[in-house]
């Protein structure tokens, strides 16, 4: 809200500079966001008035706060009461009394509509309101001064000498002052004459009854409308006015008539005319609450030694009624402070005028308690750490994405990832769903970086994804996605492994870091990955992720048509592994392997088998339980994987290193010779392979 420094000065005697006033306002709850000096030397302050402070949506309201801080008297403009100079025979009927608690109408005959005086136009302009004519300008002037919205009707255009305030029973057509024909829904509060609606209550007047150059008789409306109803009308029509803004925040019901009278005084002074009817229909009385407050509570709650006198003084300066009962208080807030309902609200009033700066900072004294920092946060931070030192940079992408992802990545109909949560009012029309997987975001990150000629892109993201469940809350899951791209540019040292194995090498430590050992890999069925260069990760029969090389077609669809795009990716759920990431700490978490006390015996096997066999198949054969019931095999590791010279076409050579160890005794060479020979025989018979010479 814009406030003129000079106007403010009319209500309080102060010598403070505009900067000092801005500081006082900011530090007592009305933040001054900017200020502008006008040609005439006046300074316009832009205030950020919070929604609870409807009382400060006026010059007098702001002046009241300043006067409370400066401890100076507030000078209110004089209000003359007007008698009914003759019964105009005009009636105001309020049908929906719960929506209109008070309606005051004053009739003035014989006004002369003309431009308003310069001083008034200037004040309106500097407050952001366009001057129209003296009648309308006066209603706006009083709105700015008192915060009470007023409306002036051309009396001759109202039919049947009456105003009816009622909610629309059915959708109703209304042409508003701005010339727009609107249809408002049933329930909208309307101001009607005998024929129908003449204004949208509290929001905007109707065109048909507007004051024009030829108007001579007017009805000034000053009313109290229920805030939520006005807000709904304003939202539904998309109309926001100075009036609706104030009604939504609750105006001062006791000030309704005063504001009308203030306007009448100005009209008679500036437009001529005489009052011929004063109607004040006030069917729904406002009961101000009485709130008990104790000095001890104020002191304890704020942590400051404030006296009872100081508390009483502050509240009185803000126009609260204070009854004192031996150190305690019964406080009645003024009718313009409907935000004050509880003791805590009063304490805030005391605190802000006392000054937050005068409250000392004191560290709280808290009782010790075993604190719940879940394993999840530790594991995630370890995960980030290990990815970082493996060369990956973390990205964070918006949760919003587009359905185009599914086409670009060939996600089949019925796939879980298509169970999306949709945003009703997205910022970008196409980006109206929440992510169910992260890969598309990382691909876009990659594309963005390639556009800056990045040669190596190694990135990851950890984020919540969302699945529609059909009933209320979506399912929120935690995912990790990793992308590794290399343009194959010149490098000092060659990479020791192919890209597929490098990305798999990222996945494996992550799985073991999550204490997830019982996972299974199967050839991937993801269409966006290269067929024979990818795998899906399963735990307990449930697919938790995929990894491998992005197919050339997919890369092309993302318009990354390198000569040979080399993009390896993986993505997996990290909240639902063997040991869930939120795993509660139990004992034992796992049993440490204590076999190392007795010496081991080590043997190698090198075998030539058909290409169709994967190293994992051979390891499974080695570990066969019925050959090794005592579990003497401690570990099996592959140390060679070779195709080419000296190996027949369609075959490959695999070599494994086996460590044998017994838990409770020292092994004999002879027994291991026998067991090892048995294992070798078994592999040969099962695979049809041969020992490598």
């Amino acid at each position: 809200m814009l406030i003129s420094y000079n106007w403010l000065k009319e209500y309080i005697d102060f010598k403070e500079s505009p900067e000092a006033i801005a500081d006082i306002l900011t530090m007592s709850g009305l933040e001054v966001e900017s200020n502008k000096t006008l040609d005439d030397g006046d300074v316009i302050l832009e205030l950020n008035v919070t929604p609870n402070r409807a009382d400060c949506l006026s010059v007098i309201g702001v002046a009241r706060d300043v006067s409370a801080v400066l401890k100076k008297k507030l000078k209110r403009p004089e209000i003359n009461d007007f008698k009914n100079d003759g019964d105009a025979g005009f009636k105001v009927e309020i049908i929906d009394k719960h929506l209109c608690h008070r309606y005051c109408g004053i009739i003035i005959n014989g006004v002369n509509v003309a431009p308003s005086p310069d001083w008034m136009q200037k004040r309106l302009n500097s407050s952001g309101i366009r001057p129209i004519n003296n009648v309308v300008d006066i209603t706006n002037y009083v709105l700015l001064e008192f915060g009470q919205p007023l409306h002036a009707f051309d009396l001759k255009k109202l039919k049947g000498d009456k105003i009816i305030v009622r909610a629309a029973e059915e959708p109703q057509a209304v042409t508003t002052l701005d010339g727009a024909a609107r249809t408002v829904p049933a329930g909208t509060l309307l101001i009607c004459d005998a024929d129908g609606p003449v204004a949208l209550a509290g929001v905007m007047g109707g065109q048909g009854s507007a004051v024009s150059d030829t108007t001579t008789d007017i009805l000034i409306e000053s009313a109290w409308f229920e805030s939520a109803s006005i807000r709904v009308t304003s939202k539904r029509t998309g109309l926001r006015s100075e009036s609706s803004f104030r009604f939504e925040r609750q105006t001062d019901i006791d000030g309704v008539k005063n504001a009308a009278l203030r306007a009448v005084s100005l009209m008679i002074e500036l437009c001529g005319g005489r009052v011929s009817g004063v109607i004040d229909n006030y069917p729904t009385r406002y009961e101000t609450p009485q709130i008990a407050l104790t000095r001890e509570k104020v002191q304890g709650f704020l942590g400051v030694q404030i006296t009872g006198d100081e508390i009483e003084d502050i509240l009185k300066r803000l126009d609260f009624k204070v009854e004192r009962q031996t150190g305690d208080f019964i406080v009645t807030p003024p009718s313009f402070r409907r935000d004050i309902e509880l003791e805590a609200d009063l304490i805030e009033e005391v605190a802000r005028i006392y000054g937050y700066n005068n409250i000392p900072p004191v560290m709280p004294e808290l009782s010790l308690a075993i604190n719940n920092v879940s394993d999840k946060h530790k594991k995630l931070s370890e995960l980030r750490h290990s990815l970082r030192y493996a060369g990956f940079t973390e990205t964070i992408n918006y949760s919003f994405t587009t359905r185009e992802d599914f086409t670009l990545l060939d996600i089949p109909a019925g796939d879980e990832r298509r169970k999306v949560v949709t945003v009703k009012n997205p910022l970008q029309k196409d980006y109206d769903i929440l992510r169910t997987f992260l890969l598309p975001s990382l691909l876009r990150n990659l594309k963005y970086n390639i556009s800056f000629s990045a040669k190596e892109v190694n990135i990851y993201e950890i984020s919540t994804v969302f699945f529609e469940t059909g009933n209320g809350f979506p399912a929120e899951r935690l995912k990790l996605a990793v992308l590794s791209y290399s343009s194959g540019g010149k490098k000092l040292y060659t990479e020791p492994a192919a890209h597929f194995y490098r990305i798999k090498g990222q996945l494996e430590p992550i799985l073991s870091g999550l204490r997830c050992v019982k996972y299974e890999l199967r050839p991937s069925n993801e269409d966006f990955l290269e067929n024979d260069q990818s795998a899906d990760v399963f735990i307990g029969g449930e697919k938790i992720g995929f990894f491998g090389l992005l197919s050339a077609e997919t890369a092309a669809r993302f318009e990354m048509i390198d000569d040979k795009p080399d993009i390896a990716v993986f993505e997996m759920f990290i909240d639902k592994t063997d040991a869930p990431i939120e795993h509660e700490r139990t004992i034992p978490m796992f049993s440490a392997n204590l076999m190392f006390k007795y010496p081991s015996i080590e043997r190698d096997i090198a075998i030539v088998v058909d290409d169709a066999y994967q190293s994992g198949d051979i390891i499974n054969l080695i570990k066969t339980e019925h050959l090794d019931p005592e579990r003497l095999i401690e570990s099996v590791e592959i140390f060679d994987h070779y195709k080419g010279k000296n190996i027949p076409e369609g075959k490959k050579s695999l070599a494994f290193h086996i460590v044998y160890r017994a838990r409770e005794r020292t092994l004999l060479e002879s027994e291991i010779d026998a067991l090892h020979a048995e294992i070798v025989r078994r592999i040969i018979s099962k695979t049809g392979g041969a020992l490598r010479a």
Binding site: R231, E343, A351, V362, V373, T395, T422
Partner: protein, 353 residues
Amino acid sequence: MTALQELFLKELEAVTSTTALRELRSRYTGKNGVITGELKKLPTLAPHERAAFGKQVNTDKVFIEERLKEYEQVLISKEIKSKLSKDPVDITLPGYYKKPGGRHPVTIVLAEIADIFVSMGFSIEEGPEVESDYYNFSALNIPRNHPARDMQDTFYIENSADGQSGEGAFVLRTHTSPVQIRVMEKRVNESRTNGTPLPPLRFIAPGKVYRCDSDVSHSPMFHQVEGLVVDKNISFANLKGLLEGFLHKVFGPSVPVRLRPSFFPFTEPSAEVDMGCYFCKGGGCRVCKGTGWIEIMGAGMVDPRVFKNVGYDTGQYSGFAFGMGIERIASLKYGIDDIRLYYEGDLRFLRQF
């Protein structure tokens, strides 16, 4: 020196490699070696000669083994040296290693904040990013059709329950404050179940939040950290003490901190927390819009209406809540003037952290 020892030394002199040494060792001390051969002579000797002879052979054996061992070490180090000198290094070439990736500035700042609060005994709590209207608004004293809802531009979720922004609606949470409600509700339920008194609370709740707004200083998604302390005799002065301590830890002990009255529906009294402008040191600049102060957090004493909504005994407990935007803190710490940089995934930006 015995004849055997002399002979051995002569042979040892001729050895120049570890392979030859191994061969020599096996010839003297192996299963069928010279020493064994000597010992085989024992039965042929007169009984009175045997003890002296045995002793002599043993002395020879120890002598030979020691010399072998000494010489082996000499040979090994010689061989390593000669290998290295055949493959000289360029000590200025970069070492072979994976260049570490960048950390996301949001993650860095979140971790820093969490560390500070965890060190003070706070726990870390979480809540869903898609929230119900109740948790995001109503329970926090932000009723329907109240202008306070305009303070946060809200993304609504398409769902069949209710077309309007009513009680049945779901939203992308506009703040992390709903976690306050969830944690307090949970504690109230636990206390009702096992009859224990309501515990004091102190936790932070970090996470993503969403607002329907986008420009250089507003992002439709950003991160917040919410904090809540509930205990006996918690005062506004305590709120001030804790937040001042926190900001001094993050931005340095000399940074001025001030609280000024504001409005949040779920706190009363409410405060906006400002810190002295980092850049102009209070003189006024573009960053602080000439005021010398930068808004950094919102805070306040927990509104009794909120305690009532979750069933926390207001007679016994008081508390305070605070919230801050992570990107805002990161931007101040690193001098970043466009919030969109955090979400573009530009490695030129991210690798600096």
